[in-house]
Structure formats: structure tokens, C-alpha cells
Amino acid sequence: MTRPLLKVEDLRVTFHIRREGDMPWTKPRELHAVGGVNFELMPGETLGIVGESGCGKSTLARAIIQMVPASGKAVWEDGVDLLSLSPHQMLKYRSDIQMVFQDPLASLNPRMTVGQIISEPLVTHHPGLSKDEVKLRVKAMMDKVGLLPNQINRYPHEFSGGQCQRIGIARALIVEPKLLICDEPVSALDVSIQAQVINLLMKLQRELGLAMIFIAHDLSVVKHISDRVMVLYLGRTMEVATSGDLYSSPQHPYTQALLSAVPIPDPAAERAKHMIPLEGDLPSPLRPPSGCVFRTRCPRAEARCAADAPRLNPGDHQVACHFPGPLAETVKAMEEV
């Protein structure tokens, strides 16, 4: 078995929140945005991360590249824990891990030309390159992501959303990273453009042998692109499985509820399927429920769920639930209530 490219162990992100009007000596409240996430990522593999808004998807990604302070471990393939590095030591790894952002236009500096934007990581990590060399590489990369290389002197506002996202992808790939973190790269785009960008990402991934962490809340997009999918709820992992497994036989009630909410483009099938409506709101991460964080909205919750938090069971299809089971059982549990 090959070594994993990235091995994340018990990654926690805690924000300290001070309320308006708090005295300087009052203790800030703790917000656990990510509470102990574990996963492994193989070279060339795509891990999809799904969950509701505010469940810690983006925070998890940002923690890996040290943009938010985190505790735990994120071991890179050479055995170095990325989270323990000083900003200066981290610099070496920044070119290996690049990121694509959600809002295509906002992620590009409006005062810089496309050429300057794409070349920025390259110039930062390889200051010795000549100007012609940089320009040639930028143009080749623009061609690769489907932009006309002669548009190198244009400004971001002259491009469409899809083109801007291509610029963002070109900027991420120009330093030849091993891991690409995509933070909802298509949620701001039209559906037809989404498909183009997804296909581009998949094509580039095959050609360059990239590993990807793909964050999204659109489940069908994640299914299409990911090898494995991780479901997050309130900063905790609920279920991890291969994409096929997770979508065909979800074991965690939360995953089942999520999947049942995906609309099916066939009215008959849509009417026939079992919806699992979740009641209530996402609990505040400032005061997470005891035990299993999902228990307040779970149709299968029992006394044990409040007492102790379920761990992920080992294996290929990991579920963090005391009472995992196929969809039919959840539906039955709901009808009994």
C-alpha cells in the first residue's frame, strides 16, 4: 500500500468568541468549528466533503493550509506535520497545496491582469525565473485550462464567471501542486458552466495526477467527481465511504436525510421517494449537544446517544452512529414516532 499524501488526525479548530460588551477579563467562549476530524488522502484521489452551511467544511480546508489556527495533526507524505510548522517552514509546502475558491470574481484582484494573477504563485515560489519564462508558462497554463493565451493582459472584470474560475484554477495549478483544495468551486456558477468546470477539473486531475479535496454542498456534483465522500455535521465526521457506497447504501441517518433531499429529475421517482425531513435547526456550535451532535434532530435517537459520542467504526465504510442501518430502518423509525 502506498503512503497517504495527507493524513489528518484529530484536527480541531476552535475559535474564541468575545461578545460585544464583554469585560476584558471574562473568558472568551469557545466555538468548535471542527471537532476532531480524521481522514487519509491517497495521491491522485479525490475526497469529497459535504455538509450543510456552517458545518465546518471550509474551515477544515483552511486549517490544513494554516489559514486558521488548528490543533491536531496533518501529516504530509514526507512525514512532516503541517500544523506544527512555522509560517516560514510552511512556505515550502504551500506550492504543493493550492486552493480554488468559491467566488470566481472575488478571488481575483481587480487591479491585476490575468497574467499577473496567474503568475503570482509561480513568481513567489520560483523567484529566479526570467520574465519570458514566466510568461510562457502562464500562457501554456491558460491554454490548458481552456482560456485563450492572448488574453493574458486582460483584467478579471472582462471575463465571465466560468472563465474567472478557470483563471483561479490556472493560478492554483501553475506551481504544479500535489493537492488541490477546491472550496465550493462551482456553487457560484450556472449549471451548464458548472459541468464545464467540473469536467475541466477532472481532466486536469487525470493529466497531472492531482489529489483533490472537493468541498461542496451539491451532492450530485460531489458524487460525480469524488472517489470517497466524507459527510460533516457540526464539525464532526458522520460518515465516510466510497462515493458509490455512500450514495447507494447510506448508513448514517443524517446522510440518508441529506440524500433524500436531493431532487430527482423524474417527477414519478421524485414523488415515490421517501423524504426524511429533519426537524429543528442546526444547533449552535457554541453549545453543541452532548454525546452525538446529531441526536437532537435524529429520528433514531435514543438515551444512549445523549450519553456518549459515537466513534467512526473502522473499515472502508465508516459510520459514526450507535444505530447505523439502511434507509428502510430510518423510515420505519420515523413512522413509529
Binding site: R62, I65, M67, M90, L91, R94, S95, I97, Q98, M99, F101, Q102, D103, A106, S107, L108, N109, P110, R111, M112, T113, V114, E120, P121, T124, H125, L136, K139, A140, D143, L148, P149, N150, Q151, I152, N153, R154, Y155, H157, E158, G168, R171, V175, E207, L208
Partner: protein
């Protein structure tokens, strides 16, 4: 990745295509500015006033400090503005050519305005951007320093400086420069806070760009619009301040003069009937002020089209 020869040929062809020139946000702003008639007129007036200030003395009959003793006794009758004598703006109360003196005074006023504004732009922008970008405790300390300096009565400090260290141009620049950057720093900090969380800043951080480079490359260029607007509005403010100090009699050292000084002299001599001594400097002062305000307004509309 294996590319076929045809692919390579097509790639080479695409790479060799002529580069399209992009239209930068600055170009857009320039086009919008040029459409604004008041602003263009203001800029045109500013150019004329500056040309007069810097080259006007060449066309004067005498230098700004030459005293014509033969006429200084009866300026009211002998020192009227006239094309024949070459004293286009007449003489001042001591018999000096007012045309030369107005040119020289306008020059000092414009220099004071520009120096004050540039200090405020350079120091204020960097200070505010660093404070906003670094954030946290550094931000708190840096902004409290600004608050403390703002609380000191500014005119009082300048007057004290001029009284203690003597009246000189450099002391005037120091006094104005010391305080002009404070409000700029505040404005820039506020803008930086909104910019800081934009995704392109995060992208630069993720790429490993150093903090100071991010400030210079990503934050400052995106602030320049608002800074440019504020700076053009600051220039007349500086000129006003200098004029007020000169009006109190503490400005530049005679025989050097400034617009405020000339206006003050003119106002004093108004009752003797030498009204031109007030009107000419006042006209230049007002034209300069209005021109700067129009240009500033035009810049704001051009650089910030959302606000209209």
C-alpha cells in the same frame, strides 16, 4: 502527458497569437472622469493656475521682493493695475509688484497643499493598511495612537511649533505633515478591513506571498481610488490651513508670501481704497479651491461608480 504533433502545432499557434490589450479599472475611471465636464474644467483651471504659479514670475516687470520706492509713497494713485506700467495686478502697499507676488504666493500655497497631501497619502496609507491588515492588538495600539494625536488641538501645535522654532517653510511642512495623515490612516484602515477578508487576499496568503508584499501588491492598489479622492480633497484643506496660519501672521517669512498672507494684507489695506490688493489673490485662491474640489468630486465619481 503525451501530446500529438498536431496538438503541439496548434498550441504553438495559440501561444503566438497577438496579445489583446485589456482595459484596466484605471482606464475605465479615466474615461468616466473625462466625461465629467466640471471635473475636466477644474483640471484645466488647475493646470493654468499651476502654470501661472511656476512660470508667472518670468513675465513680471520685477521680482517679488523688489520695492519700487518711487511709487511706494502713493500706491493708491501710482500703483493701480495697468498694462502700461507692466504691473498687471498693481503694487502692494510697500510698492512691490503684486503680479510677481501673487505668482510666488500661489506657488507656496500649492506646494504646501501638495506636500501636506503627499505626506498624508504615503504615511497615512501605509500606516492604515498595516494596522488594518495585521489587526488584533497591533491594530488597537496603532489606532489608539492616532486617536491620541487627533485629540491634540492641531492649530495650537502648529502655532507653538512656529513660535518656538521660528517661522520657516520646513517647520510649516512639518507641522502640517505631522497631523494631515491621521484621518487618512483611519479611512485606509477601514477600507483595509473590508478588503482583508476578500478571497483574492486569501488566495495570495495560500500561495505563500509575504504579508508586506500582500499589502503593497493587493491592498494598496485597491485602496488607491479612495486615497486619490481623499487626497485631492485634502489639498485645498491644507491650503486653507496654511492660509489661516498666514492670516494670523505666522506663516512664511517675509518677503516670501503665500495666498493667505496676501489676502490678509489686502484685507487690511482695503480701507485705503487699494481693493486690487485683496481681489487678485482672493480670485486665485478661490479658483484653486473650486478647481481642486471639482477634480476631487470628479475623481470620486469616476473611481467609485457604485456610489452614484
Amino acid at each position: 502527458m503525451v501530446l500529438s504533433a498536431i496538438d503541439m502545432g496548434a498550441l504553438a499557434e495559440r501561444l503566438a497569437m497577438d496579445e489583446v490589450k485589456g482595459r484596466s479599472p484605471w482606464t475605465d475611471a479615466r474615461i468616466r472622469f473625462m466625461r465629467n465636464k466640471a471635473a475636466v474644467a477644474g483640471m484645466f483651471l488647475l493646470i493654468i493656475v499651476s502654470a501661472f504659479a511656476f512660470f508667472g514670475e518670468m513675465f513680471a516687470v520685477s521680482t517679488y521682493d523688489y520695492i519700487d520706492f518711487s511709487r511706494s509713497g502713493d500706491v493708491l494713485h501710482l500703483g493701480r493695475p495697468s498694462l502700461a506700467s507692466g504691473n498687471y495686478f498693481g503694487l502692494d502697499d510697500q510698492g512691490r509688484d503684486l503680479f510677481a507676488r501673487t505668482a510666488q504666493g500661489t506657488r507656496i500655497s500649492i506646494i504646501v497643499g501638495l506636500v501636506g497631501a503627499s505626506i498624508s497619502v504615503i504615511v497615512g496609507t501605509l500606516y492604515g493598511a498595516v494596522s488594518g491588515y495585521v489587526g488584533g492588538r497591533t491594530d488597537q495600539i496603532m489606532m489608539r495612537i492616532v486617536d491620541i494625536l487627533l485629540a491634540i488641538p492641531f492649530m495650537f501645535v502648529i502655532i507653538l511649533l512656529l513660535v518656538m522654532f521660528g517661522r520657516s517653510l520646513s517647520m510649516l511642512f512639518l507641522g502640517i505633515g505631522l497631523l494631515s495623515w491621521l484621518s487618512m490612516a483611519r479611512i485606509v484602515r477601514g477600507q483595509t478591513l473590508t478588503l482583508k477578508n476578500r478571497e483574492f487576499i486569501q488566495a495570495a496568503q495560500a500561495a505563500g506571498v509575504r504579508g508586506f508584499t500582500i499589502i503593497l501588491r493587493h491592498i494598496v492598489p485597491n485602496l488607491l481610488g479612495i486615497v486619490a479622492v481623499y487626497a485631492t480633497l485634502l489639498v485645498p484643506e491644507m491650503i486653507l490651513t496654511e492660509s489661516f496660519i498666514s492670516f494670523l501672521g505666522l506663516g512664511v517669512q517675509a518677503p516670501l508670501t503665500s495666498l493667505g498672507d496676501l489676502i490678509s494684507q489686502g484685507a487690511k489695506n482695503m480701507r485705503y481704497g487699494t481693493i486690487w490688493q485683496l481681489l487678485f489673490p482672493l480670485a486665485f485662491f478661490m479658483v484653486t479651491m473650486f478647481a481642486f474640489f471639482f477634480v476631487g468630486d470628479g475623481l470620486r465619481d469616476a473611481l467609485d461608480p457604485k456610489d452614484r
